[in-house]
Each structure stands twice: as structure tokens, then as C-alpha cells.
């Protein structure tokens, strides 16, 4: 039983991982076909992984409603929201537009999902500003550098900031857009490259540990 429960899954990781890795470095018809097939398979398995999350969410809210816990009524709206997207999708075969006309799915997407998701992320703007106010206390030279970089980026992207920059530092004959471009393409790139190189080394090492079965936390408990 241990063979079926533990060794076969580890063998799957090893075989799929090594073949995928090798396919990248051994370009021929078979490796291209293999990568194409695996990509298709991965799409299918990932779609079922979504189902795992969906069932988990529904189960959790079903339990809230069943046990009538605090705020159980709100859980009903999870199902309402779900049906508000899925029913129109089934009616229109997943199409938002038919013959230039917005379908009921397009309507649901625009007036429900898009309105909600855009607002949810827009609300974060207020929290980011509030966090910035608290975290941008300039206590060190490094914090000052962080503040200046963020300030210039924010200032330069609004017309008022450009007007202020031109009236105060116009004599330098350097526009704030040029300063932003320089920050983004020189010092910020240096910082980003260091991080990316570090991430790459970490990702490669972790991937190799997964392929060779050294890292196996994702397998869960026995």
C-alpha cells in the first residue's frame, strides 16, 4: 500500500519533472509534442483544482447556513453571485457578445463582476495611502530613498505633480517623466535584477528538490 500511496506519486513527480526539464533542452519533434500534450493536461488538471476550491467554499458556506452561525444569511449571497454568473453563461454558451449585442453573461460581467472586482481593488487605494502615511516615517536614509522614489513616481503621474515639478524644478530642463524613466530603467532595475537573480536561484533549487523527492511537503501527511 505504501508503494501506491507514496512511491508512485513520487515517481510521477520524477518522471514528469525530468521529462519536462529534458524536453526544454532537447528540442526535437517528440519533446515539442510532449510539452504540448503536458500543457494541455496541466490545463485540465488545474481546472479540476479550481473545482476543489469551489467545493470547499460551497461546503464551508453550506455549513454556515445549516448551523445558522453568525451572519449565515450573507452566505446565501455567495450562491446568488455564483448563479448570477453561471446561469447566463449556460444560456449563452459562455459568450458575452452575440451579433454585436451584449448577452446576459456580458450584462452580468459588466454590472456585477466587473463593478465588484474593480471597486474591491479601488478601495485598496485608500488603505495603501493610509499604510503609506504610517510606514513612510523617514527614520533613516534608506527610508528617505524609498519615500523619494515613491513620491516622484506618484507625483509624476498626475498633471498637478507635473505642474508643480515644472514650476519648482523647471530650470533644470528635465521633465519629471524623464526622471521617472531614469529611476525605472537604472536604479530600480539594479534592485529588481538582484531580487530576480535570487528568486531564480531559489526557484531552480526548490524545483530540483521537488523533482528528486527531497522536498515533499505537498504530499501531506501519511
Amino acid at each position: 500500500m505504501k508503494f501506491i500511496k507514496k512511491h508512485i506519486p513520487l515517481l510521477i513527480v520524477l518522471v514528469v519533472g525530468v521529462l519536462t526539464l529534458a524536453s526544454y533542452y532537447v528540442p526535437n519533434k517528440y519533446s515539442v509534442d510532449y510539452l504540448e500534450l503536458m500543457n494541455k493536461w496541466e490545463n485540465i488538471v488545474s481546472a479540476f483544482a479550481f473545482l476543489l476550491g469551489l467545493i470547499s467554499l460551497f461546503y464551508s458556506h453550506y455549513n454556515k447556513i445549516k448551523r445558522k452561525t453568525d451572519g449565515w444569511g450573507y452566505s446565501l449571497f455567495v450562491y446568488v453571485g455564483f448563479l448570477a454568473m453561471v446561469v447566463p453563461a449556460l444560456m449563452n454558451g459562455g459568450r458575452q457578445m452575440v451579433d454585436g449585442q451584449v448577452t446576459s453573461l456580458g450584462w452580468s460581467f459588466r454590472y456585477i463582476y466587473n463593478a465588484l472586482s474593480a471597486t474591491m481593488f479601488a478601495v485598496l487605494a485608500f488603505y495603501i495611502v493610509s499604510t503609506a502615511y504610517r510606514s513612510f516615517r523617514i527614520k533613516s536614509a534608506q527610508a528617505f530613498v524609498l519615500f523619494v522614489a515613491a513620491f516622484i513616481l506618484i507625483l509624476g503621474k498626475v498633471p498637478l505633480g507635473q505642474i508643480i515639478w515644472d514650476s519648482v524644478l523647471g530650470w533644470t530642463h528635465t521633465g519629471i517623466d524623464q526622471v521617472i524613466e531614469w529611476i525605472m530603467s537604472v536604479p530600480a532595475v539594479a534592485g529588481k535584477r538582484g531580487i530576480m537573480i535570487g528568486i531564480a536561484i531559489g526557484a531552480v533549487v526548490t524545483s530540483l528538490k521537488i523533482i528528486f523527492g527531497i522536498e515533499r511537503q505537498y504530499m501531506g501527511r501519511d
Binding site: A47, L76, N114, T119, M219
Partner: protein, 242 residues
């Protein structure tokens, strides 16, 4: 969609937008309704995306055409759902290990070529064309190279950070701070552009054609907060505080 549907949509979108914004004042039932609706609508949206882009064309239709090969990924995918049945939850390992193996196999070349080799190449390449570069471009290339080395020193923990290593890694922190500041600034502006978009939509829903949806819903929300503000009994903690 007919005109009445568009008006109904305007009212719905204006309502949901204002309900979510109302959280900025304080938590309230309208926000919670919109929050839960968002959760469900998000899942519903992705469910139909997967249904019409993956399950139907890549699983159902091939099966109907007797292409039995898709049974393998479908079974691997279905094995994930066994997580909910403790007795056979170990079966889900088959699906997970496939995803992990494929992901890890792809991550190695992607990490090496895109994030590792390309970044180093991008740092070094300008020095092969120094003769054709302006003094300012040479300065920029040197600054990037210096920054990358200093940042790498900051992340290098195999030697103790003291003496000259500490000095170099401290310079690296400045480059990191510039990057974090720039990334933060960009994030703030991205969020604000979304905010402008929402305000723009609210403004368009406030027109006569939408039967003043924004103003009416906003007025109702203000009324709600006024009424609950006056009638709400103070909480136990609040009483003690007073």
C-alpha cells in the same frame, strides 16, 4: 440587452459599488452582502471560464469523439477532489504530484533562462558597446552593474556581513529601496486609476437616463448610517470606555 436591462444594470452596479465603498466609513450589512456576492460571482465567472474553455472543448468533446487519452488528465484532476473524502484522500496526491512535477520541470529552464541568465546578460551586455555609448549611458550601465552586485551581496548569507561586505550590502539596500519605492508608487497609481474608473462609472450612473441611481442609492446609504448611528445601542466595550 434592452434599455430597461441597462437601467437595471446601472442601478445594480451603482449599488454594489457604493455598498463596497461604504466600508470606508464602517462595516455594515450592505458591504457584507456585496462582499459575499463578489466571492460567489468571482467563482461563478471562473467556473464558466473553465467550463467553456477547458472542460467542454478539452475533455467533453474529445471524449465524445472517442479520444480516450484525455481520460488520464481528467482522472488526475478528479483525484484532487478526493481531498474531501478522508479515507481515499491519498488519491489526490496523484493529481498534485503531476502538477508539481510539471511545474517544477518548467520552472528550472524558465528560472535559469529568464530570471538568471537574461538578468546577468542584461547587466553585462552594455559593456560590449561602450565605444558607441554616451557618457551618461556608460554611467547608467556602471550604476546598474554596481547596484546588482551590491544587492546580491545583501542577499549573500554565506559570509558574515561585517567590514567591507557590510558596506557593500548597505549600498545594495539603497538600490532595493529605490525599487520598492518605485514599485509602491506604481501600485498606488494603478489602484487610483481603478478608483477614477469607479468614480467615472458612478458619475455616468447618476445621469437622468439611469434615473439618478448613484444619488438615490447614496442618499439611502447616508440615511441608513444616520438612523443606525442614532439608534444603535453602544457596545459593552464602548460603555466601559465612556
Amino acid at each position: 440587452m434592452t434599455e430597461p436591462w441597462m437601467i437595471a444594470g446601472a442601478w445594480l452596479a451603482a449599488g454594489l459599488t457604493i455598498f463596497l465603498f461604504s466600508f470606508l466609513y464602517r462595516d455594515n450589512p450592505f458591504f457584507k452582502i456585496a462582499e459575499h456576492l463578489y466571492l460567489g460571482a468571482g467563482m461563478g465567472w471562473w467556473f464558466q471560464v473553465y467550463m467553456f474553455n477547458i472542460w467542454k472543448p478539452k475533455v467533453w468533446e474529445p471524449l465524445m469523439a472517442h479520444q480516450w487519452g484525455v481520460i488520464i488528465p481528467a482522472v488526475l484532476g478528479l483525484s484532487l477532489v478526493t481531498q474531501f473524502i478522508p479515507k481515499i484522500s491519498w488519491l489526490s496526491r496523484y493529481g498534485f504530484t503531476f502538477l508539481m512535477g510539471y511545474g517544477a520541470g518548467l520552472a528550472v529552464p524558465a528560472g535559469l533562462s529568464t530570471d538568471f541568465m537574461n538578468q546577468i546578460a542584461g547587466t553585462i551586455r552594455p559593456f560590449s558597446a561602450l565605444a558607441s555609448m554616451t557618457p551618461f549611458a556608460i554611467f547608467n550601465s556602471l550604476l546598474i552593474a554596481l547596484g546588482v552586485v551590491c544587492v546580491l551581496f545583501y542577499f549573500f548569507f554565506s559570509v558574515e556581513h561585517k567590514g567591507s561586505v557590510k558596506k557593500v550590502s548597505n549600498v545594495g539596500i539603497y538600490f532595493l529601496m529605490v525599487y520598492f519605492g518605485a514599485a509602491f508608487g506604481n501600485t498606488v497609481m494603478a489602484r487610483f486609476s481603478l478608483l477614477y474608473g469607479r468614480f467615472d462609472d458612478l458619475a455616468s450612473f447618476s445621469s437622468r437616463g439611469s434615473f439618478y441611481a448613484t444619488q438615490i442609492i447614496l442618499a439611502v446609504m447616508v440615511l441608513y448610517f444616520l438612523v443606525t448611528g442614532f439608534t444603535k445601542k453602544p457596545q459593552q466595550g464602548e460603555e466601559e470606555a465612556h
